[in-house]
Symmetry: C2
Subunit: 190 residues, 2 copies
């Protein structure tokens, strides 16, 4: 997505070989017009596949995901990150590890917002090692529902999340694919 | 807002005299079409006031706030809730207490996304005791910026947040004002 790549080049900050900060337009300050375009792009790619719900993980995925769910005209479900695990028959829960923050979360959803007929699109802001996506997939498949695809705003293609998801046969659509952040330089995959 | 009040009556769950759950269309599952209408309504009320940024607090305020910032054509800034306090010259931080969750957070913003010329609209999903709004106001005013108004999706008018903000002279616009949740019955203010 040209608009997104241009903004990453203009406003992204390379912290080291692995970390790109996009706090000025995606994570902390949010460019809502860009989010609208992202929603249109994901909707365009994933339309006509019988999607019933969009899932995202709190909190940086919410802005692009709400725009996507608006365009697809289906509800958005926000998977909650809980620090402590909860014993409750009314929820599905799975542990995920954030390598960036070095914290383990309990990804949590009420059973009210998923069922075995659901065909779900997962939207997230970043794909690195794929821990968040793996957690969302696990919850969806435990509920007997189908993962139709995964829409990612920025993929760090040099980390192993994309390969992992490709190998399992998921349809991953990333709007910007970063090949390398070496020497402070942002390079995209073609 | 009639559409919102109707959904609250239809889908809201009164847990006790103080707690209304709107997990099926605002907090956990999100009705994006409703969020769009909410964004239009806030934008309509607060337009022509020179707003430069919309602020919200992660994470349930993000969906209505991103729609509002889209309509107003200004950036959204997400105030982060950090568990631990951080000593950093590049941020503003203030403590807020969540009565619902009985946790104290450090509401945090990078100084990059606020300046003394900013005219800011705060958007949040709920107004109860007003702790979150007070925290956001404190951060904004510490930075020398102006709070133009506060847009609330659901106000629990029987708690003291609204009075507190009114007494300080802030323009609070709530889309649904709940007078009482007694005996499991939802009553709105006229």
């Amino acid at each position: 997505m040209k608009l997104l790549e241009d903004m990453i080049l203009e406003k992204g900050k390379v912290i080291d070989d692995n970390i790109l900060k996009v706090n000025s337009f995606i994570n902390h300050q949010v460019d809502s017009k860009l989010m609208k375009e992202i929603g249109l792009e994901f909707s365009n790619y994933f339309k006509n596949r019988g999607i019933t719900r969009v899932f995202t993980i709190e909190s940086s995925g919410i802005a692009p995901a709400v725009m996507t769910s608006y365009e697809l005209d289906v509800p958005l479900v926000i998977l909650k990150k809980q620090i402590s695990s909860t014993l409750d028959d009314d929820i599905y829960q799975t542990k995920i590890k954030s390598f960036t923050k070095n914290i383990t979360y309990n990804l949590t959803i009420s059973k009210d917002y998923i069922n075995s007929n659901d065909r779900i699109l997962i939207i997230d802001d970043f794909l690195a090692n794929g821990e968040a996506s793996k957690g969302a997939i696990k919850i969806i498949e435990n509920a007997g529902a189908t993962v139709v695809g995964i829409g990612i705003v920025i993929e760090k293609s040099f980390q192993n999340g994309r390969n992992y998801l490709d190998n399992l046969g998921y349809d991953v659509y990333s709007l910007a694919r970063i090949k390398s952040l070496k020497n402070g330089k942002i390079e995209f995959l073609d």
